[in-house]
């Protein structure tokens, strides 16, 4: 149950800036995903929150209290690592018991030979056993308690790692790409399980991933990181529909958003591939980039035309790759109805509704379309 605040966090390794001033606030009970391409500094940020890595400047506050001088274990956060990081020589039971023993037993009680003889230890061990049994029931790992990590499958190890995090009842859970070592099917299954776990525990989850699908499906809020900066945060729907930066638009969504070259005219109107869109903006005239999601491309009618160069039929949906006539550009359209696939090589007309259009300036920043203009063009679907 914790609220985590980051202010102006900076970190560099060997003179390279890895985090360039991160300001962010994670609310109590939130499932927040930090998502971004590999190497953008997600893990580093998570490790700074955990206290495993000191930041060069900036402050981390948990529930309003600065924690920068506090050891990782005393911050009372739990972390699940990509490699699970289970102690290979300990059984599942002992792995889960480690954080409890470290917290509840005194140094003397932890001694290898003498400790178990002390009367106090026996009482505490009984309480620890009860806690672990309860967790094992919840996670369905009760039959595995005697096994060593080497004898567990990837999914089972993952559960044990979650159990080790849960058993200490931390203020927040930190996950660093916990699903990326699992096979695709299991990953989808574990997504649902983790989301359910979050709802049940009502704890703060900070979840790092480079997989936008994981972020979209599990989180209550997503924070997108690129090159050491946090460029946008919001609900999955906001991030998907309303990206503030072309890098966000391109990173979120699969297949990728289609980007077409455009031009803003002096009167604020927008041209794409030589066709005027019924849209306008206040930005100064010049080049721009126009993004349209694959599912918003409408095949069969419209001012543009292209030829089918590739088809991906997934059964429930299909993706049509089009080469746009007269250019080297490719775009992808999603077809919901796979019973009527266009033929390979056939020429197709296509278009898209104005409200599907997202416009970005040459630096990648989103350009707001003029509201009254967007409202006026309700009736013609195609330009």
């Amino acid at each position: 149950m914790a609220q985590i605040e980051l202010s102006a966090i900076r970190k560099s390794f060997d003179g390279t800036d890895v985090l360039k001033g991160i300001d962010f606030r994670i609310e109590d009970g939130e499932f927040i995903s930090l998502v971004g391409p590999s190497g953008c500094g997600k893990s580093t940020l998570l490790r700074i929150i955990a206290g495993l890595e000191p930041q060069n400047s900036g402050e981390v506050r948990i529930d309003g209290r600065p924690v920068d001088a506090i050891r990782p274990s005393a911050r009372n956060l739990a972390m699940v690592f990509q490699s699970y990081a289970l102690y290979p020589h300990l059984s599942t039971f002992d792995n889960i018991a480690v954080p409890l023993r470290m917290r509840r037993l005194s140094a003397i009680e932890r001694l290898p030979l003498l400790g178990p003889l002390l009367p106090g230890r026996r009482v505490k061990e009984r309480a620890i056993r009860a806690d672990i049994t309860a967790i094992a029931e919840q996670l369905d790992i009760a039959p595995l308690l005697r096994r060593k990590p080497g004898q567990l499958s990837g999914g089972q190890r993952q559960r044990v790692a979650v159990g080790r995090a849960m058993v200490r009842e931390p203020r927040a859970f930190l996950f660093d790409e916990p699903l990326s070592n699992l096979d695709a099917k299991l990953r989808v299954h574990m997504r649902a399980e983790l989301a359910e776990l979050h709802r049940r525990l009502e704890a703060t989850f900070v979840y790092v991933t480079h997989d936008q699908a994981e972020a979209m499906t599990m989180s209550s809020r997503i924070a997108v990181m690129m090159g050491g900066e946090l460029i946008q945060a919001g609900t999955p729907a906001q991030i998907y529909n309303d990206p503030s930066d072309i890098r966000v638009a391109e990173f979120i969504g699969s297949p990728k958003i289609n980007i077409l070259p455009g031009r803003i005219r002096n009167d604020g109107g927008i041209d794409v591939l030589g066709t005027a869109l019924r849209l306008a903006c206040k930005a100064t005239a010049g080049d721009c980039r126009v993004g349209v999601r694959p599912e918003r491309i409408e095949l069969g009618a419209g001012p543009f035309s292209g030829s089918v160069v590739h088809l991906e039929n997934l059964g429930a949906e299909a993706f049509v790759h089009l080469a746009i006539e007269g250019t080297a550009l490719r775009l992808i359209a999603r077809l919901a109805d796979v019973r009527h696939l266009p033929a390979m090589g056939s020429a197709l007309a296509f278009g898209f509704p104005p409200d599907a259009v997202r416009v970005f300036d040459p630096a990648g920043k989103r350009i707001e379309l003029r509201a009254e203009q967007a409202e006026r063009i309700r009736e013609p679907a195609h330009v």
């Binding site: 955990a50 274990s73 956060l77 490699s83 289970l86 020589h89």
Partner: protein, 278 residues
């Protein structure tokens, strides 16, 4: 047809070579066992024969045990080698952990010094260390046999290389769980590094069990003698060298290592491949 022929020929040739090599390596041991089994008269007879006409192994052993307190010397060997190994581990593991997993200024320089330390032969520092022990008044004691070897740069190097292969996440998980840095060394790194510790243990115990040079320099008292010194002492006895008992004693002192080898043959081979020592 001809191919299988040449293959078998090559295999035969290979085995002949290997057997010849093995024979050269084993000859001294076989000679030792042979001599240990011969009565004095046969040892000095001019004809060469491997199998004694009269087996005198039991007599020779009895004489060896009567002449010198062999059990005491074996015990000394055990005390000294075990103490050295335990202390070496207690020094090397924390040092290796720091060099492998902690980030601090000068770490690479320190590691370079460790590597440099491996290059220095123990004989080169023998006299300064001897003088030091003399000044401290520790000559002719167990401490003199043990202390100079407690810091093993080779051990630090070996363990550091092994710790490098332990994932950082495991160390971080231990920190999150509340284990202290020293706790991590003993509770997380040591169990993960058992193969490397075993390998180092084999190396260390064999080297110090067989060490002749250093005990010879620092010891005077008979009751502190280590096994190799004890054997050597059979030589300059007043009445000339009695080879039978000497070889019998030599058999006795290498027996613990040979028996240990037979019991832990696989570990031994693993360890030696791991360290790259031959």
């Amino acid at each position: 047809m001809s191919r299988t022929h040449s293959v078998t020929l090559r295999a035969v040739l290979r085995h002949v070579l290997l057997i010849a090599g093995a024979a050269i390596m084993l000859a001294p041991f076989i000679w030792m066992i042979s001599t240990a089994s011969k009565p004095q008269t046969e040892v000095f007879s001019s004809e060469l024969h491997l199998i004694p006409y009269r087996f005198a192994l039991v007599e020779n052993l009895r004489e060896a045990f009567a002449k010198a307190n062999l059990l005491r010397f074996l015990l000394n060997g055990v005390i000294v080698t075990i103490s050295i190994f335990v202390l070496q581990v207690m020094v090397a593991l924390p040092a290796a952990y720091a060099l492998a997993k902690l980030r601090f200024v000068g770490r690479e320089t320190l590691f370079a010094l460790v590597l440099f330390g491996i290059l220095i032969p123990p004989q080169a520092t023998a006299i300064p260390v001897f003088l030091l022990l003399h000044k401290v008044g520790l000559l002719d004691s167990y401490a003199a046999l043990v202390l100079p070897f407690t810091i093993s740069v080779f051990g630090i190097f070996l363990m550091r290389q092994f710790f490098k292969t332990v994932p950082d996440d495991l160390v971080d998980a231990a920190r999150m769980d509340g284990i202290s840095e020293f706790g991590i060394v003993w509770r997380v790194m040591l169990p993960a590094a058992i193969p490397a510790v075993t390998a180092f243990g084999i190396f260390s115990v064999v080297a110090h069990w067989n060490d002749y040079f250093w005990p010879l320099i620092v010891l005077n008292s008979e009751q502190l003698r280590t096994p190799p010194l004890a054997v050597a002492h059979f030589r300059n006895n007043e009445a000339g060298t009695s080879y039978g008992p000497l070889m019998a004693a030599a058999m006795v002192i290498i027996a613990p290592l040979v028996i240990a080898f037979l019991f832990a043959q696989r570990r031994f081979i693993e360890g030696i491949t791991l360290t790259g020592i031959k």
